[in-house]
């Protein structure tokens, strides 16, 4: 972990305007990110995914992003024109989506979709781009890259689809990868394989990673630092290795909910929530 700050977020708020009134999805989230792997955990609706999307400026049309500061290197993410955004997205910050079944275009071949991501940011000819894409498919440990290159998304399995997604998002060589529940849609047996591939590539290429998940165990084993979110707030920020020393009752509650393999077979406690945590 280096001290150089890549991303600095101060007091980020995401508010959605709905017919039932305003919904505050993210309320005052602040963090700094170096070349490290940061985990954001929380249950559904805690605002973890919306935090990730706000960093890429991809909040839905009825949402509003405000922040005291949101900078990536020297780029002010809070005030970008659509044209400037296109230079950041993909090329410098990228995001791995949740479910390859829905997040890949069903009528384009996998190869075309990967090449598109590469050529958007690198001026190369079609042959070179194809070469690159096949190398990248090889890098995510796809055994038969040529065949997958020419396949359509529905012709590959979920685990394979997610490797394709990783290849597609890493090929322009961004500095920061946001992985939004990258393994939640996969079989348990494939989850770890995919995570290991992502982890290797992120390390090799010296990228920073924001790993968004509801799986505290998974996050703590792949990240350096963990943010725990509850109802739009960061309730605790802690080193992954020191998770067992967590102070906040919510984090402790989450940890207690995990079943233990040895000894204790009593009922798992129910997660308790206090209204005061959401005011923080």
């Amino acid at each position: 972990m280096s001290n150089e700050t890549l991303l600095s977020v101060k007091n980020l708020e995401v508010t959605f305007n709905t017919p039932k009134g305003d919904v505050h999805a993210v309320r005052g989230v602040s963090f700094n990110l170096g070349r490290e792997r940061l985990g954001i955990v929380g249950e559904s609706g805690s605002g973890k995914s919306q935090t990730g999307r706000a960093i890429l400026g991809l909040t839905a049309a009825n949402g509003k992003i405000t922040a005291d500061q949101m900078t990536f290197h020297d780029v002010d993410l809070a005030n970008l024109t659509p044209k400037q955004w296109r230079k950041v997205r993909g090329a410098r910050i990228s995001m791995i989506m949740q479910d390859p079944k829905y997040s890949l275009n069903p009528v384009m071949t996998i190869g075309d979709q990967i090449i598109e991501a590469y050529r958007e940011h690198h001026k190369v000819n079609a042959k070179e781009a194809r070469h690159r894409a096949i190398d990248m498919l090889d890098a995510v440990k796809i055994r038969d890259p040529e065949r997958v290159f020419n396949s359509y998304p529905h012709e590959v399995s979920g685990g394979m689809g997610q490797r394709v997604m990783i290849a597609m998002m890493l090929i322009p060589d961004p500095e920061l990868i946001i992985a939004d529940e990258p393994t939640s849609a996969l079989d348990v047996t494939v989850q770890l394989q995919v995570m290991a591939i992502l982890d290797d590539l992120v390390r090799d290429r010296g990228m920073a990673l924001i790993f968004i998940s509801h799986d505290l165990q998974l996050v703590s084993s792949f990240c350096d630092r963990v943010l725990v979110m509850y109802q739009g707030h960061v309730v605790e920020e802690i080193k992954a290795s020191a998770l067992h020393e967590a102070k906040h009752p919510y984090t402790k509650g989450l940890l207690n909910c995990l079943p233990k393999m040895d000894g204790d077979h009593s009922d798992l406690p129910i997660l308790e929530r206090e209204a005061s945590w959401a005011e923080g």
């Binding site: 890429l56 991809l58 659509p82 955004w85 296109r86 230079k87 950041v88 997205r89 993909g90 090329a91 990228s94 995001m95 989506m97 949740q98 479910d99 829905y102 997040s103 890949l104 275009n105 069903p106 009528v107 384009m108 071949t109 598109e116 991501a117 958007e120 940011h121 359509y152 529905h154 012709e155 997604m165 597609m168 998002m169 322009p172």
Partner: protein, 355 residues
């Protein structure tokens, strides 16, 4: 090799055969044949249950009973129904739909004359409808709730609400009578009509085959107005459907993926979203095309367009049974083939449907 293994392999081969391109083709032909058979059966039965006595129509009211019986036998109407149907099917398959009482030509000859006129009109109308309707729908979808959306909706609604014959008459009044931008009713100026040899029956093609550019532009000038008026209707429908399909696709996850990649909004809409919109849209376009191919009677009357709709209507009003049934078979066959065509296009556009 053991018997079990061989059996297994045979099964796999059969599965591959049924799912390969040959299998798809065979299944297509098979379902085409079944549908066409059903069509013939229904038209045959309609022809038999209608209270029109074909014998009486041929011999007249005053013929003697013996003449009546002889003609009845000659027409094969004394045979059992299944045998009559068999004869009917074999006649139709040989292209024999019988004589038209009204025109005293063979029905096939008449249809060969009128169908190309309708085909030409419907094709040009569909091309205009698609070329304007899809961009209009996309434009409305990406500006949902803003003024371009309202404009497209109002124009579309107006297209659907105005009676087509009125629109046709107004079009003639304004663009032919007052402005003189286009030619009037008919497919060519009456002066030219006999100049052209009906090779394909499509005026735009025939004039080009003869290499007569003046005649070609004359034909264009005649078809523009009726085609545009028909196109207005299919345009309104196509734009409406495009808009709703587009809105649905733009909310999908893969659009967000494309945005993450930093792709231009233009490419996201026209390549990613529209590529998926085209899949259901092909069916919509095909159905609207098939509807136009049936012949739009009102437009054909207003523009004195000698098409299929006009022919079937006239035959119907004159109890010309053979012509009506022949026309019905043609319309049915057109529907079947347009459906087949949309099926094929569907497979081309959606890789998930290629099995």
């Amino acid at each position: 090799m053991s018997a079990v293994k061989r059996k297994k392999r045979d099964g796999r081969n059969r599965a591959r055969f049924a799912s390969g391109p040959t299998g798809t083709f065979l299944r297509l032909v098979f379902s085409l044949a079944i549908t066409f058979f059903g069509l013939l059966l229904v038209t045959f039965l309609i022809g038999r249950v209608l209270p029109i006595d074909p014998v009486l129509a041929a011999v007249g009211d005053h013929a003697s009973q013996s003449t009546y019986n002889r003609v009845r036998e000659e027409m094969g109407l004394n045979l059992p129904l299944w045998q009559q149907f068999f004869i009917y099917v074999s006649n139709v398959l040989q292209g024999d739909f019988g004589q038209s009482v009204l025109t005293s030509n063979s029905v096939l000859y008449d249809i060969k004359r009128v169908f190309p006129a309708t085909l030409e009109l419907a094709t040009i109308a569909t091309i205009i409808g698609v070329a304007l309707g899809i961009p209009a729908g996309v434009f409305a979808a990406i500006n949902k709730g803003k003024w371009p959306d309202h404009v497209v909706r109002v124009i579309g609604l107006a297209g659907h609400s105005m009676p087509i014959f009125w629109l046709g008459l107004m079009g003639l009044l304004v663009f032919y009578m007052k402005l003189d931008w286009v030619a009037g009713p008919g497919r060519l100026d009456s002066f030219y009509v006999d100049f052209i040899e009906p090779t394909t029956g499509l005026m735009l093609v025939d004039t080009l085959i003869e290499g007569d550019i003046d005649l070609f532009w004359n034909a264009v000038s005649h078809i523009v107005l009726p085609a545009s008026i028909l196109a207005y209707f299919s345009l309104a429908y196509i734009a409406r459907m495009t808009r709703s399909f587009m809105l649905e696709q733009l909310s999908q996850e893969y659009i967000l993926t494309a945005r993450v990649k930093g792709i231009s909004e233009h490419r996201i809409i026209w390549r990613h979203a529209l590529g998926n919109v085209m899949v259901p849209l092909v069916t919509v376009i095909a159905l609207s095309y098939a509807n136009l191919l049936e012949g739009s009677v009102l437009t054909e009357i207003v523009f004195a367009w000698p098409g299929l709709g006009l022919y079937i209507t006239n035959s119907l009003l004159n109890a010309d049974m053979n012509a009506v049934l022949g026309g019905t078979i043609v319309v049915g066959a057109v529907f079947i083939s347009v459906n087949m065509l949309s099926d094929v296009l569907y497979r081309l556009l959606d890789p998930r449907a290629r099995r």
